[in-house]
Point group: C2
Chain length 246, copies 2
């Protein structure tokens, strides 16, 4: 582990979560180093375009260099290109925000998303890593990848399932019915429905789903919406060359 590189990467993390830039003194406090060291780290980041210093406020923000990096990552995920039109169709049919995620580092990585036309909508950012046990997409990834259930399950809302045994049973239900529902288990007021996507070799390529406010997605409306999600997920599997998709 190389310390100064690690510090630089921590600075990038800090910058990613900062709205209005960060000053040198703040960096120094967060990292537990002298402000002179922080200053030099930021100079290095800036010289490579990974940070930019506002000439007036002298505060630093993320540099535009990182945009080039994300293109490189997204290019690695061919599923994304195939999925986008399917997501558009899914949002068109359901009126809700749709997204697609893959398994990455034991989390659900959102790789693409299409926004709902409605004013009241769920915003999800591409690149977000979400927990598996309390999201519809995540549950699908667990159930169809036959993953084990983690020991400790963090509660995000009062509705989050925190009992591994209960979750295990729930995963079997998901597997049987072919889709998963997140019932305000991750964010209060938001319900999600997701279904698996399979590649040409029959392996789980990812999961597609929709999310919306509970008001628009009542309990008795779930089966119909789940049908649409599964239909489009199946459509995507077919586009990926999966022959068992109908």
């Amino acid at each position: 582990m190389i310390q100064s590189l690690a510090r630089g990467l921590e600075i990038l993390d800090l910058l990613a979560n900062a709205e209005n830039g960060i000053g040198i003194t703040e960096f120094a406090q967060h990292l537990g180093v002298d402000k002179s060291s922080a200053s030099r780290l930021l100079q290095t980041l800036a010289s490579y375009g990974y940070a930019e210093q506002n000439a007036d406020t002298r505060r630093y923000v993320l540099g535009t260099r990182v945009l080039a990096l994300s293109n490189s990552v997204l290019r690695r995920i061919p599923l994304r290109d195939t999925a986008h039109p399917v997501l558009r169709q899914l949002t068109y049919m359901t009126g809700e925000c749709s997204h697609i995620a893959i398994l990455s580092q034991g989390k659900a990585l959102y790789i693409d998303q299409v926004e709902s036309p409605s004013i009241l909508r769920v915003e999800t950012e591409i690149g977000t890593l979400s927990p598996l046990h309390c999201t519809a997409l995540g549950k699908v990834l667990i159930a169809f990848n036959q993953l084990g259930v983690p020991e400790s399950l963090k509660a995000y809302t009062p509705k989050t399932m925190t009992d591994p045994v209960q979750l295990k049973l729930h995963m079997e239900l998901v597997y049987r019915q072919g889709y998963a529902v997140d019932d305000e288990e991750h964010v209060l007021g938001v319900r999600c429905i997701a279904a698996p996507v399979f590649d040409h070799r029959g392996r789980v390529a990812g999961a597609v789903g929709i999310s919306g406010p509970i008001g628009r997605m009542p309990n008795d409306g779930v089966p119909k919406l789940a049908g649409m999600v599964m239909e489009l997920a199946n459509d995507l599997s077919r586009r990926l060359g999966n022959t068992s998709a109908t």
Copy 2:
């Protein structure tokens, strides 16, 4: 300048341009360090999610962590959200790929893009930094920001303007007619048309434009297409609160 951080950032640059991952030995050669050092640098990057090692090939690729970074950058550019529907409209009207760029570090930074529905299309990646003097978007940014023309102008194709005096005159033409054309000056076979976007204070917010193969964008078709581009650019200016936009 902190050396080991700089090396780490250079590794990110290498990874961004690699298609199939890079091995430790290659890194060591590129950086001019021992492979043990390269190994430790990559371990650090991997532990923060900025690099990922393929378990089979042991080669490294960029980590998904960078996606979160780029979201942060794009959030800083509110123009992008406003622009996207306008770009869609522009692509719908012209059938060509449309994009929007802002001035950043003396270059044109592409912040959004909508692809042409046609098979034959110009691919542009978000985050790309393009030269100003030989792109339509760049020319617009020079002309309407009243920027000086650089001394030395790199030739990308035989059609690139390399004479500063000639370019200066050309900028005056762009300013008068309200749009710029890139006539295979950056990439052979590709013609682009761009127009400026102004914010609520009347300042240049960016430039929008279209690009397509010369076959679909003949010389005598340029004025009509330029009219559409200017119309949509004007539309975007109005959405940004620019009152002088009609």
